[in-house]
Symmetry: C2
Subunit: 231 residues, 2 copies
């Protein structure tokens, strides 16, 4: 198979004109790639967690790129053209939101907030408002509204699912892609790399923040997430 | 008179419960106050240019804080509570917009863009999108729409006025305040400190960028703006 793309945590292999194979690597990076490491087994855990979330979303009528699990490290997915935006949903103030606006970490937002960022390490994924997205032709009004609506639905579905596992969905990043029919699918991964999960009692992080902030072992943290989700 | 507020380029003195005196200083700062200088006569020039623009806006039914000129350095204005947002209108890509999105300076935007920033030197005036403004209670939906609509009207009025003076209105920053009746007024100043003006033929800067980038003498640049506006 031809390698179509290699990102920081995944490889995308060509199956045919309609399908790709998504391979989860053991690499982990933070701060736009300035901090880099490998954790043997991280790829397997994130593949398993992504499988789980994509299946739940599909069951709840969210259109995703997920087709089927192939093995421990790979799943089959629909091939798409990646939209140049990251879609972030926030339920609590954390990470860049706190830093940007000087807001205390852990403050519950009065309702879920959707933000968009341009996908660009070089520009440090800058925040972009809806008028600017339209002006710069990064999405159409309909696409933007679809992404926003879908992101909020995903938030509802995952939040209530995670609640059962005594986890708070603090915030998460989604990516969208367009298939050959022009349909927008939720793509990428849904893992502790792309979501913030906090223990619902202690508020302790069970996600990549343990690596960013050197707070705990990444592997055992991700294992704990998988354990709570009964995977 | 009691000093109510001293900013980087102006002082605000209390006249009474409804009115203030706005005094233009000779100070100029850039990069959140990191670069600082004084140019004797700058205050007078900016006062004169602000007078001129506020009078034009008032004539065009824009509600501003401007009441009347008092002397060379001071005008009388309605007292307001300053809204915590800066409203930026962009016609061409320049300044932070280019840096943020990696866009070439001078690109004409397909239509005017309104952006909001939180007024905060400490946070470096971060960009904030409309949903976040509402979520953080920095303005109501009605206030936000009023500011946006007014900013676009101001853009039309000033752009066509400046065209006669062979100046392009590239972008500008507005501030709004609320008076004791809850009415929103356009406040602050409208000067080469708060606007980007380019010569309509050479595209050379006739604004604070000459100071930011050490390209030309600030005072003779601002004098040239006043000269072109026949002040």
């Amino acid at each position: 198979m031809k390698l179509l793309y290699e990102g920081k945590a995944k490889k995308v292999w060509e199956i045919d004109a309609e399908k790709v194979l998504i391979e989860f690597k053991d690499d982990v990076t933070a701060f736009d790639g300035l901090k880099k490491d490998q954790y043997r087994g991280k790829g397997l855990l994130n593949k398993k967690i992504s499988d789980y979330f994509f299946k739940i979303l599909e069951k709840n009528a969210i259109k995703t790129h997920y087709i089927r699990s192939v093995d421990d490290r790979n799943f089959e997915a629909f091939r798409t053209t990646v939209m140049p935006l990251e879609t972030v949903v926030r339920n609590y103030a954390a990470g860049s939101f706190c830093k940007r606006y000087g807001i205390e970490k852990g403050k519950k937002l009065s309702k879920p907030l959707v933000e968009f960022m341009i996908k660009s390490d070089e520009l440090h994924d800058p925040l972009i408002c809806e008028d600017t997205i339209l002006l710069l032709d990064l999405a159409t009004k309909e696409e933007l509204e679809y992404m926003k609506r879908t992101a909020l639905k995903v938030n509802e579905i995952l939040s209530s699912e995670l609640e059962k596992a005594k986890l708070i969905l603090v915030d998460f990043k989604l990516e969208f892609g367009k298939n050959s029919n022009g349909e927008i699918l939720l793509i990428d991964e849904i893992t502790p790399d792309t979501c913030r999960f906090w223990d619902s009692e202690t508020f302790e992080s069970l996600d990549k923040d343990v690596y960013r902030e050197d707070k705990a072992d990444l592997l055992s943290t991700y294992e704990e997430v998988a354990r709570r989700l009964e995977l």
